[in-house]
């Protein structure tokens, strides 16, 4: 328990010192995970909405698959992306392995199913409320999807945050496709894994505390946007 106090002190000292290496790692973490979240939302939200309002054969199987993919193990995603991006793999000519782009690709694959599955549930519930109204207005499918996505935007922000949380916290995928290269692909989680393997548990924990605070900050920022928007909506 002594090391937790030590870690807390170290975390504060690290932040106060404004260590440029730490800043670089933090910024890369945010850049990779936020980009992955945005791309995953662009892919996952339309899929989730289409499945939510669609009635088609095999829909149940699609639902089960989407829900199951939420449990994709990061290491497996990392391995798959590695095999494709490796110089000996089909996309090796792109030279993307061990770059932040590779990390964004891996995290996008990891969290797109989460965004799709959760948004499907949110939109399906909303659609149940409005279905009759939409029918009476003779909306096209595209218009329906647009209306539902817009109306559910605040709940969908939470969906996006769930995806971001998963992305920023995972280490298995980014350590394989990024390689944890100093000043190039080292992010918070891989730095924590590295310090743990060096036996510097206090520093590892300190980095963990900082990561937690960053996640808190992102969530607080989104929450404040949401509250400001909601207040203005009721004025």
């Amino acid at each position: 328990m002594q090391s937790i106090g030590e870690a807390l002190g170290l975390a504060i000292a690290l932040v106060l010192s404004g260590d440029p290496d730490l800043l670089e790692i933090v910024l890369l973490s945010l850049r990779v995970s936020l980009t992955a979240t945005v791309i995953a939302c662009m892919i996952g939200l339309p899929i989730g909405a289409l499945v939510a309002i669609g009635r088609f054969r095999g829909r149940n199987a699609v639902l089960i698959l989407m829900n199951a993919l939420m449990g994709l193990p990061p290491v497996v995603v990392g391995l798959l992306v590695y095999l494709y991006l490796s110089r000996s793999g089909p996309l090796g000519f792109l030279g993307l392995l061990y770059t932040p782009t590779a990390m964004i690709i891996a995290q996008t694959i990891l969290i797109a199913p989460i965004v799709a599955a959760l948004s499907r549930q949110v939109i399906e519930d909303l659609h149940a409320e409005y279905a009759e109204q939409f029918r009476s207005l003779c909306l096209t499918r595209l218009q329906t999807v647009q209306a539902l996505l817009w109306d559910a935007r605040y709940s969908l922000l939470t969906v996006g945050l769930a995806g971001f949380g998963r992305a920023v916290a995972e280490v298995g995928a980014v350590i394989i496709v990024g390689g944890n290269i100093d000043h190039l692909t080292r992010v918070m989680t891989t730095a924590i894994a590295l310090e743990t393997s060096k036996g510097d548990l206090a520093l590892a924990l300190a980095l963990g505390i900082i990561l937690l605070v960053i996640a808190l900050g992102v969530n607080a920022a989104v929450q404040s946007v949401r509250m400001t928007a909601a207040r203005q909506a009721y004025v």
């Binding site: 490796s86 110089r87 000996s88 100093d182 190039l184 743990t196 393997s197 060096k198 036996g199 510097d200």
Partner: protein, 272 residues
Amino acid sequence: MFKKPFAATAVALIIAGAASAQDQSIIVQSTTSTANSGLYDYLLPIFQNETGIQVNVVAVGTGQAIKNAENCDGDVLLVHAKASEEKFVADGFGTERTDLMYNDFVVVGPAADPAGVAGMNDVQGALAKIAESEAPFASRGDDSGTHKAEMALWKSADVDPTAASGGWYRETGSGMGATLNTGIGMGAYVMTDRATWISFENKQDYSVVVEGDQDMFNQYGVIPVNPAKCPSVNVDAAQTFADWLVSAEGQEAIAGFKVADQQLFFPNAPTN
């Protein structure tokens, strides 16, 4: 009107940036001990200052490093498993293997020393004693250079520890640091390279119990990846790096790297 040229310039800049970065940087597939001990943090700035070449290190177990290099995902291989390295070159993946430096393996154990091996310098005898007393022993179990060396020592001690896998013999399947953390957590003996041990910070009541046996010699080698197999290799920069490491200057730099006043790696590249 404004957008197009801007986008084109941006793309051109990105491509130019990527191209020049490619010329100036290499990826080293490396064993973890050299990275975790801080050797690269010490060496690479010196090298980069002189040549302007950026060296990116991917630190994984020797087995995985070789595999990655065989997939052409690196320009230089720096590991410690001579037999596997020679096979790597023989199979055409590397151009030439050169001895770089050495240190040694040690067995670390808890102060309680349940197998009574503290102070021994006959590693086979110590391993046999650990097996006989069924004192817990944590192994890497990950096909790394250290794991291969450990398996060779068990063999020469005429013990098959894997028969007791899950019993007193525990294979963590992880890196050196993770195995030390695990082993120390369960009071097990662990074989580690000395560099990782000296720079390891979670030693608790552990210390070196077996050392000094000739058979625990740990040789590191450096191999540029062969462009004939891997056209993507940055040949010139890779060769420059390998040459610098084995040059008088590189060797001197390796010898100058110390943690807690102890030299971790002993250069022994052949002098021409």
